[in-house]
């Protein structure tokens, strides 16, 4: 179709060159597609919605040094009312951990679906909240009912009898389509009735690839001299004003208090991002891509350089510039295709290995195909420079003795 001299036949005589270059491309494909996949997954994760209304949320922690009386429940409840009256505030709730903040003050537990303790324990992150907290967060109630004031328990005085769980936890406990409402769950010697299931979210301790299994309990925390307020505002912009107003109020009430985690929740997302790993992977991907371009271009360059005379002869025999360029590109495309097909197989293998040892989901064929096409394009582009050079070879080279 191209009216060119045979491209594949001579390659078969240069097995070693083809094998070396093919293997390189195979390994490059395997590495780059997997690295790109991991980077892509991480990126998607950081960009994906948190499941809560983080753009309208603020979270404060007030710490009062021990020795002072601490924050009594009455004070806390009064503060909730006062803060709610601040202009710009829609709702305010008490929570015992900062959403999306994976480090601080995390409490975990595990549920059993029967008292016997024999069957599998399902782990979850626990959070004690005031009745309105789920609405404040922006979690949707999927089934059952919300907390009511009569559900409330008080730490070290009484235990909550009911719980609202996220869909992920409901699925883990009872399976995909089973109604969790009204069922009992057991934790050590305590039992709770599930009264509601709410939509999934990234949770208090965001983890890649998993919606967090969270169980909310209606309980006020009257311990440890800490009180945490979750505030929902009218608009994202008003938050900085609200922060100032709340700080002012709290500092007035508790002169010795310490306020921290006065974060806009969408800013927290930036903090749990694993920069180190991202940077390392990006650096390796970048270097590897650069190195492969140079490697492939280098080899194409020398395969052209070595055959200058030969290519000059082809020009003398009637090859136009375009045909010579096409021939070099075709040659490279042939080798790259061999390497790519092997590379795609290796990439699947490596991805499978990653999948087994880490939490990263396996490489999708579509993604692999896209990367393979990308690598094919990069390889051909790298070969284009030497190919263009080959086009410049003068046919008079044929009559010269080199």
């Amino acid at each position: 179709m191209f009216s060119l001299p045979p491209v594949l036949k001579p390659l078969l005589r240069k097995k070693l060159t083809v094998v070396l270059l093919g293997l390189q491309i195979a390994l490059i494909t395997m590495l780059i597609s997997n690295l790109a996949h991991i980077l892509n997954e991480m990126d998607n994760y950081y960009k994906s919605p948190t499941g809560i209304d983080d753009k309208h949320l603020l979270c404060f922690t007030l710490r009062n040094p021990s020795g002072t009386k601490g924050i009594a429940l009455a004070d806390g409840l009064r503060d909730l009312e006062k803060i709610k009256a601040i202009p710009g505030v829609v709702d305010v709730a008490s929570v015992d951990a900062t959403p999306l903040d994976h480090e601080y003050n995390l409490k975990t537990g595990s549920f059993n679906t029967s008292l016997e303790q024999n069957n599998e324990q399902i782990a979850f992150v626990r959070s004690n909240v005031s009745p309105n907290a789920l609405d404040t967060l922006g979690l949707r109630l999927l089934a059952g009912r919300k907390f009511e004031s009569s559900d409330m328990a008080f730490t070290y005085k009484s235990y909550p009898q009911v719980t609202i769980i996220t869909r992920a936890l409901a699925t883990a406990l009872f399976g995909e389509n089973n109604n969790a409402i009204g069922k009992m769950v057991y934790e050590k010697d305590k039992q709770y009735e599930i009264i509601g299931v709410v939509s999934d979210w990234k949770g208090f301790a965001p983890q890649i690839y998993r919606f967090e299994s969270t169980a909310f309990f209606p309980e006020y925390n009257e311990i440890n001299n800490e009180f945490r307020y979750l505030i929902r505002t009218h608009s994202p912009e008003v938050r900085s004003v609200v922060i100032q107003a709340v700080e002012q109020y709290l500092m007035h009430q508790y002169p010795q208090g310490l306020i921290f985690y006065a974060d806009k929740l969408d800013a927290i997302v930036n903090k749990y991002m694993n920069r180190g790993t991202l940077a390392l992977l990006k650096l390796i991907t970048l270097i590897l891509t650069l190195a492969s371009i140079i490697a492939i271009a280098g080899q194409a360059y020398f395969s052209v350089h070595q055959r200058r005379k030969q290519l000059g002869v082809l020009r003398a025999l009637g090859a136009t510039r375009t045909k010579l360029i096409a021939q070099i590109l075709l040659e490279n495309a042939a080798i790259v295709s061999v390497g790519l097909s092997l590379g795609v197989a290796l990439a699947m293998l490596l991805s499978h290995f990653f999948y087994k040892t880490t939490e990263i989901v396996a490489l999708s064929p579509w993604f692999l195909l896209t990367t393979a096409c990308g690598i094919f394009a990069i390889c051909l582009l790298s070969a284009a420079i030497p190919a263009l050079q080959a086009g410049k070879i003068s046919p008079s080279l044929a009559t010269r003795t080199l």
Partner: protein, 453 residues
Amino acid sequence: MFWYQYQLALRSIRKTPILSCVMIFILATGVAVTTICYTHYHHLKKNPLAHKDEHLFLLQTDSWDEKTQYERTPNHLPPLHSYRDSVALLASDIPLRKTAITKWGGSMHNPEIQQKAIFVRGNIVTRDFFAMFEREFIYGGAWNAIADQQFQNVIILNEDVNQKLFSGDNSIGKSVMYENIQYQVVGVTKKVQHSNPTYDIAQFRWPQPDAQFYIPFSVIKAAEFGAWTRYECPQDLRDYGSHWYQPRLINSCIWIGLWYEFAGEEQKHQFENFVRNYIQDQKKAGNYPRPIRFALSSIGDYMQLNQQGYDEDKTTIYIGFFTLLVCTLNFVALLLAKFMRALPESGVRRALGANRRVIFAQHLIESTTLGSIAAVLGMLMTFAGLLYLQLVWKSAPAPSSGLPVQDNTVLMEPDFYLMTVCVLTAIAASICAGLYPAWRACKVPAANYLKIQ
């Protein structure tokens, strides 16, 4: 002979500058990526207290549920102890040194100056801690032995906190307010940034931030303090009361780590008997429902035990290895192209009396020379890469609590060992890569290339 061959090699490298540069760059990239990928693993596997492995031990006892074993450590022994057990196990006079470790956080300020309190996180330990874990002091030293028995309001700050509260001056004898209680500063420790969690080894594989202050263990009975550490409870249906703090002093929930230092094998043996007797004794009171099992592990032992955990961090090493493989293959391909082009010259040399071994050596020297240059470049690239990663790590936003976060830059620290690895890898790769092309070059029959093509 070697020098002559070396000069020939250099001449050959200079003759094809672009090709040589590409080869050097590619190989340098390969070793740099490999070294960078290996760096954090190398640091994680380093034991900064290896010289104390014969003497310093973590105590774990099986105080868990009757029915289920503890699952979160590789040897299925809880990493921590209850307060009740800790006090009893610390009471032994057998060990040379002993310490308990648990964590606490709160607000601290200097009462002499008007400034906003800072939020800090520190360790609750005994005075032996500093000698056991080789903490150096800038000012002062550990508190006296009495403070371990009878609580005194003494505190040791670390360099950073001393900087924030006292602008780095000698603060010995001065007071700080911590959680509304006044403490007297008796020492200021030098900041350390280990790449290994040392005394947290049973709970963490990655390094932890340096504690910002130290308060005597006796504070636990003197003040109500909320431990800032893993707090786990085995199943225990006994009633310990409903106060938020008091039950922690008598129940079976674990939150305190125990470390011992022994003068020798004999002492350790005696202590093992002591622990065995203690557990036996406790069984009468209904504690330790499981069969008697305990372990004294040095940091090195524990790392060995947790090998599987470290293996999870090897993923990047595989990436590094494959990158090196790609780059070496490329090096082989280019070397082969280069040597094949120089075949006529080799043919002439053969005709002039050079035997195969000489031709082989000449080519291998050439590839090794390229490898050595690549080693130097690779070293520079490794430095640059690690520096960049450290910068990225440092640029992460600090938590608004003001608490220190683990500075992972220690895991990206270039050191002599890594540079040696980098250089040796480059040279080894260049020799391996040179073998086949050199063999092809020396196999050329002398006669073939004497005729004009």
